[in-house]
C-alpha cells in the first residue's frame, strides 16, 4: 500500500500533511491550520456550511488558497506568498473523494475504478482486474459492467469510494465517504476503510461520530470556518468544548458556572463523582459545561413539594417530543431525556417536568 511509501518519504517533516490556509468563498471565509501525521487519519466534523468541503478542496488544489501554505511530506505544494507555489491537482499526490460521487457517466463502474491506476500508467488489464478486486471489496462484485446511471445511489457512492482508493494516493481526502449507505453496508465499508486506510495519511469529513471513532485517530471540529476543538477522537467526543461538538458526540451540554465544587445553571445544580470534573469545578465562578447522555436522565412529573434546590434534580419545561426507535426523546428548556413511549403520552410541549441525573453520569468540561 502507498501509505508505507508515504511514511518512508516523510523524513524531513514529522507531519505528512501540514496546512495553514485561508480561503474566501463569497462572504464566508475559512481560516484553519492543522497537521496530519504520516499514516494518521484525521476526521473533520462540523455543521453544514462550516467549511469542511472547502478545506478538502483547497488541499486537493481545486480551490485556490488566499493565504497560507500546504506541504505534503515536506514538499510545498501550495503557497500564497514568498515564492508562490501552486501545484495542479494531478501532481499533488493527493486524491479527493468529493461530496458528489461524480462517477464518469460514460465509463462503466469498472472503468471508473480503473481510471486512477490507468491514468498513472498501470496496464489496462492489470488496472481492470485491480478494479474488480476493489468492486468486490465495496460489495459490488457484479457491478463492473454497469454504467453509473444503472446503479443505485448507495452503489454509486461505493464505486466512488473504490475509485478514490484504487488510485493509491499518498494522501487521501474523503468527503463523507459513507453517505447514502444503509447501516449494514455502512458498517461493512467502514470495516473495509479501516483496514485499507491503515498507513495511509487521510483526512475524512463525516457527520457521524461512529465513523469518526471507527476510522480516525484525531478529530477536528470546524465551526464557521474556524477550528473550535481538535484532539484524539474519543477525547473530543467525551469533552465537547462547544455545543456543536456535544451534539455531534450525541451528548447533552448545559453551560453554567462552577459553584461550591459543583455545577450551577439557573435553578439546576449538578454534582459529579468524576475526578477530572471535580478538579475543573474547584474555582467558583468559572464558566463550566455539564455534559451527559439524554438516555441517563430520568424524567418524572413534579410531585407536590419538590425541594427546588436539591442537587442533580431540576425542573424543566418540555419543548418538543420526538419519537425515537426505542421510545421518545423529550426535549426541554434545560437538557433532554430519553423516555418510554408510554410515559411520553402523558406529556406535551409546555408540560413542567422534573429531571434527575445520577452524579456518576455527569461530567464537567471547560467552556471554550
Amino acid at each position: 500500500m502507498s501509505g508505507e511509501r508515504a511514511a518512508s518519504r516523510g523524513g524531513r517533516d514529522a507531519a505528512a500533511l501540514r496546512a495553514r490556509l485561508r480561503v474566501r468563498r463569497r462572504d464566508f471565509d475559512v481560516d484553519v491550520a492543522f497537521e496530519v501525521a504520516p499514516g494518521e487519519t484525521l476526521a473533520v466534523m462540523g455543521r453544514s456550511g462550516a467549511g469542511k468541503s472547502t478545506i478538502l478542496q483547497v488541499l486537493a488544489g481545486l480551490v485556490s488558497l488566499k493565504e497560507g501554505e500546504i506541504t505534503v511530506d515536506g514538499r510545498v505544494i501550495d503557497r500564497s506568498s514568498g515564492p508562490r507555489v501552486r501545484t495542479p491537482p494531478m501532481s499533488r499526490g493527493i486524491v479527493l473523494l468529493g461530496q458528489d460521487a461524480r462517477l464518469f457517466p460514460h465509463l462503466s463502474a469498472r472503468e471508473n475504478v480503473a481510471f486512477g491506476p490507468r491514468g498513472s500508467g498501470v496496464a489496462a488489464s492489470l488496472a481492470r482486474s485491480a478494479a474488480d478486486d476493489w468492486l468486490a471489496r465495496v460489495g459490488l462484485p457484479d457491478a463492473g459492467d454497469r454504467r453509473p446511471s444503472e446503479l443505485s445511489g448507495g452503489e454509486r457512492q461505493r464505486v466512488a469510494v473504490a475509485r478514490a482508493l484504487a488510485a493509491e494516493p499518498r494522501v487521501v481526502l474523503l468527503d463523507e465517504p459513507l453517505v447514502a449507505l444503509d447501516p449494514v453496508t455502512a458498517s461493512e465499508i467502514r470495516t473495509m476503510l479501516g483496514e485499507r486506510l491503515a498507513g495511509v495519511t487521510t483526512v475524512a469529513v463525516t457527520h457521524d461520530a461512529v465513523d469518526a471513532a471507527a476510522l480516525a485517530d484525531r478529530l477536528m471540529i470546524i465551526e464557521q470556518g474556524r477550528v473550535t476543538q481538535s484532539g484524539p477522537v474519543r477525547k473530543v467526543l467525551a469533552a465537547p468544548a462547544t455545543d456543536v461538538a456535544a451534539r455531534i458526540a450525541g451528548l447533552e451540554r448545559l453551560v453554567g458556572i462552577a459553584s461550591d465544587g459543583g455545577w450551577l445553571g439557573g435553578e439546576a445544580r449538578l454534582r459529579t463523582t468524576d475526578a477530572a470534573s471535580l478538579a475543573l469545578a474547584r474555582t467558583d465562578g468559572v464558566p463550566l459545561a455539564a455534559v451527559f447522555r439524554a438516555a441517563d436522565v430520568r424524567l418524572t412529573l413534579p410531585r407536590a413539594r419538590l425541594a427546588a434546590t436539591a442537587d442533580n434534580v431540576w425542573r424543566a419545561t418540555v419543548t418538543h417530543l420526538v419519537p425515537t426507535p426505542t421510545g421518545v426523546r423529550a426535549l426541554t428548556d434545560t437538557g433532554a431525556a430519553e423516555i418510554a413511549a408510554a410515559q411520553a403520552a402523558t406529556l406535551a410541549p409546555g408540560t413542567e417536568v422534573v429531571l434527575r441525573l445520577a452524579p456518576d453520569l455527569v461530567r464537567f468540561v471547560p467552556v471554550a
Binding site: A60, G61, L62, P88, P89, M90, G93, I94, V95, L96, G98, D100, R102, F104, P105, H106, L107, F115, G116, R118, G119, S120, S149, R163, A164, A167, P169
Partner: protein, 261 residues
Amino acid sequence: MTDGRGGYIPRSLVVPAAVGLVFLLVPLTALVARVEWATLWQDVTSETSRAALALSLGTGAVATAVCALVGVPLAIVIARSTPRTAALLRALVTVPLVLPPMVGGVALLYLFGRSGWFGALGLPFTTPAVVLAQVFVALPFLVLAVEGSLRSTGVGYERTAAALGASRLTILRRITLPLAAPGIVAGIVLCFARAIGEFGATALFAGNRPGVTQTMPLAIYTAFNGAGVSQGTAVALSLLLLVTAVAVLLLVRGWRPGAAR
C-alpha cells in the same frame, strides 16, 4: 436513472419542427421532379462525374480530418478560456464564416498565389488547394459546434479526474473528448457536409480542372453553366452528391452509436 429516452417536451413543438423539416425537404422533391430520367444513369456514371465524386469524397475526408485535428483543440481552448478571451477568439473564428466563400477563395489566392506571400508553395490549382479551401470554409463550423457542446458539459468531471491524479492528457482523452462526443460528432458532420458542398472558394483558389480540382459542386456548376445544354446533368449530379454524402454520414453515425449519457 433514465427510462427509455426520457425528457418531456411539449407535443406542440412538433408543429414548428415539422414545418422546418418540410421546408428543408420539399425543394428537394421539386429537384427530383425535374430529373431527366432518360439520361440520369448516363450522367451519373460518366467519367467526369465519377472523377468528381471520388475527388469530392477524398478531399472532403482529408479536409474533415484536418479540421478535426486543429478545430477540436481550438474549440477546447476557446471553451476553457476566460469569458473575454473566449468572446474574442470566437469572433475571430466566426469571421471566415461570414465571408462569401468566393471572397475567401480570392483571399486564399492572394495568399498562396504567384504574387502572394506563400506563392513559393505552388499550391493553387492543385488537389491540396481544394483541401485547403474546404478547410478554410468548414473549420469555423466545427469549432463553433464543438465549443458550444464543451461549454454545456462543463468542467466538473475534468476536476474530478484531476483530483484522482489523472494527467491533463488523460483527462482530455478519457473525459473531455468522450463527454463532448455528441457535439464533436455534430461538428464533424457539419464540417464534412460543408466541405463536400464547398464551391465558391474552391472555384477560385483551386480552379476547375477535371480530375485534379473539379469536385462535385464544380462539376455541377460546370454542367449548369455550360451554354446551350439543359440542366438535367446538373440535377443528376446534385442528386448523386446528395445521396452519397447522406450515405457517408449515416455510416459514420453508425460507427459510434448512442454517445455519452
